[in-house]
Amino acid sequence: MLSIKNLTVNVNDKQILKGINLEIKPGEIHAIMGPNGSGKSTLSHILSGKAGYTVTGGSVTYQGKDLLEMAPEIRAREGVFLAFQYPVEIPGVSNIYLLKAALNSIRKHHGQPEVDAMDFLTLVKGKVRLLEMDEKFLYRAVNEGFSGGEKKRNEILQMAILEPKLCILDETDSGLDIDALKVVAEGVNSLRAADRSFVMVTHYQRLLDYIKPDFVHVLANGQIVKSGGAELALELEEKGYSWLEDSKAAV
């Protein structure tokens, strides 16, 4: 699904990612943890094609294609989805309009006709129920005036409707209360499929209690300093990151 090799990235001549290697197979769930400022969001942004970063080395291959060559919208249409750490407010564009525009862009990309209006509404309303949201949110402007938790839930709603292949969740759990976390986790779990992979950036074990990862990676100072199974997250919860950063520095 995704193969990241020796990826190095600069922002304003400062190296942020210092040689990332990551292999993600279809159906796998990878959690990425790590201290603030270690480069987790940078990695998410690079994968989704945000401008302002310079790739200085390495490669990213997605479904056999060079991901870095694709425009952001092409990546999205090919199935890469980023649930933002800080979702952007778009006053004046309703949620439902954006959902329809996005879905139809994907369909057009794959040579399919526009979605039928009734089918679309049925689909959207079903997902709204799945995420225990109020239908009113559909008709509100994208994220405008949403609470922190509502924004995160809205990201997952979009994801559930667009059915991407590679779902990148950048700290979707932060800002969610316990109940919301459960709902969002259920939403994510309902999307689990043999041909769909997840990258979940998180600081907390509690998300991983609900969505069990196959792999946990620790990103520190622009590098993956340790990888392991789900149990690694528990160890991190207990010990923090410093032992890893230190051990790395000692290498």
């Binding site: 980023l82 004046g92 564009v93 402007a141």
Partner: protein
């Protein structure tokens, strides 16, 4: 500009005067005479005047716009044209080239206690009531466009709503202009007595002609009354438009204005309101400029008494070589303690040749007030563009969508469905990119 150029209009006045309504009313003749004298001395406003410094109206003086005769153009107005602007579910008054047109107007079923009639009829039937209001929310000294309107107005509308009456449907005033070189000068008076609640829509449209539309509207919001006034200005792109709205708010009165300035080669609106004790006003505006349009909006919020609240948001989208002007004055009198005022003007420039001039002015003479203002002139937000791209939208479409969204925020504030759809249509006509698929809205 100068008395010399204004004299062309003045010279013609003696021919026009006998055709104007209210000939038999000495007070009105005197008022018109005073206005004529003021206008003759000053001419149209000049760039030297602070409140006109960005808007050059000398083109109006180089031409000579004259009032057209009643009924001259009725056959030019097709049912389709009328249907495309006349809103269903309203009481609708049509002012055709500056004259009330009974044939096109729809006034059946108005409550008996409400008067909605042409200004000419009001001057004939109840001049003493009109006299109480005319030139009371503004006077001939404001600037010479007001004086010009006072001297020249051929008709207009008079609306009076008694205390406690909530009018179930809005009243639409459709200004329809059809003639080249014509002047449509109208005076409208809107009165809502204590605790009344009304919505009025002023629509300005025209055929493809170069005309001057000069309208003055005086609004009186009684104690604890509500008036929401919409203005949809879609004049012909060759037309000149001046529209002044002057409001007096009594104690606890609420006034909401939505100003959509879309049309005209050169268009200027004044929205001025005086607030009494604990009255509230909300001024919303959206101006869209393309080609060489010049669109000027001038607002003045006058907090005269304590506890007033004012909220103002004006947005402009300017493309090609268009120029948008926003001048917003907020005056807080010494007596107006605890005033709470916010003013915002945001401009989106879509081309390097487009221009936005924005000038917020706060004049605060009280010491215990909360006043904020902000202006921006800029391009689209890159973060938002990326967000949309990450949701499968290509960059160009994302830009169009955001431009539309920027404007649509103001359209979405319209609470009357038919008017909302009409304004939306007008926005889409002006920004026809495929970025916004109307069927999905």
């Amino acid at each position: 500009m100068t008395a010399a150029t204004a004299s062309r209009y003045t010279a013609e006045y003696s021919n026009i005067a006998p055709t104007l309504p209210g000939q038999n009313l000495p007070w009105l003749t005197a008022l018109r005479q005073e206005a004529l004298t003021k206008f003759s001395a000053l001419g149209f406003p000049s760039l030297r005047e602070e409140e006109w410094r960005y808007t050059n109206v000398s083109a109006i003086e180089k031409k000579l716009f004259s009032p057209s005769l009643i009924g001259q153009a009725q056959e030019l107005v097709s049912t389709e044209l009328l249907a495309s602007y006349q809103l269903p579910d309203t009481w609708s008054v049509v002012l055709l080239d500056g004259h009330f047109c009974a044939e096109f107007s729809v006034l059946e079923g108005l409550p008996e206690t409400v008067s909605v009639m042409s200004m000419a009829e009001a001057l004939a039937k109840q001049p003493e009531i009109v006299a109480r209001y005319i030139n009371q929310a503004v006077n001939n000294d404001e600037h010479s466009f007001v004086a010009f309107n006072t001297a020249w107005f051929t008709d207009g509308l008079f609306v009076h709503v008694p205390a406690k009456l909530v009018l179930e449907k809005p009243i639409q005033v459709l200004h329809l202009n059809t003639q080249n070189d014509a002047l449509a000068s109208t005076r409208t008076v809107i009165v809502a007595e204590q605790m009344a609640d009304i919505k009025v829509i002023e629509t300005f449209v025209g055929l493809d002609a170069a005309y001057l539309s000069a309208a003055v509207t005086e609004v009186f919001v009684g104690p604890n009354a509500d008036i929401t006034l919409y203005k949809l200005q879609c004049e012909s792109d060759k037309a000149y438009h001046f529209g002044g709205i002057y409001v007096k708010q009594a104690k606890d009165a609420r006034f909401i204005h939505h100003n959509f300035a879309f049309g005209g080669l050169l268009a200027r609106s004044d929205i001025h309101t005086d607030l009494d004790l604990a009255s509230e006003c909300e001024l919303n505006g959206l101006y869209l400029g393309v080609n060489r349009q010049h669109i000027d909006n001038h607002t003045r919020i006058n907090h005269l008494k304590p506890h007033g609240i004012s909220r103002e948001l004006y947005k402009g989208v300017l493309d090609d070589r268009a120029r948008g002007v926003f001048q917003g004055r907020v005056i807080v009198a010494e007596d107006a303690q605890k005033t709470d005022s916010q003013m915002n003007n945001r401009n989106l420039l879509l081309s390097n040749d487009a221009e936005a001039d924005t000038k917020p002015q706060l004049e605060i003479y009280a010491d215990d007030v909360k006043c904020a203002h902000g202006v921006t002139v800029g391009q689209l937000d890159e973060k938002s563009i990326f967000y949309l791209q990450s949701r499968c939208i290509d960059e160009e479409t994302a830009r169009n969508m955001l431009t539309f969204a920027f404007a649509n925020e103001m359209v979405d504030k319209i609470k009357i469905k038919s008017l909302h759809d009409q304004a939306l249509e007008q926005v889409l006509i002006r920004f026809p990119q495929e970025g916004v698929n109307k069927e999905w809205l």
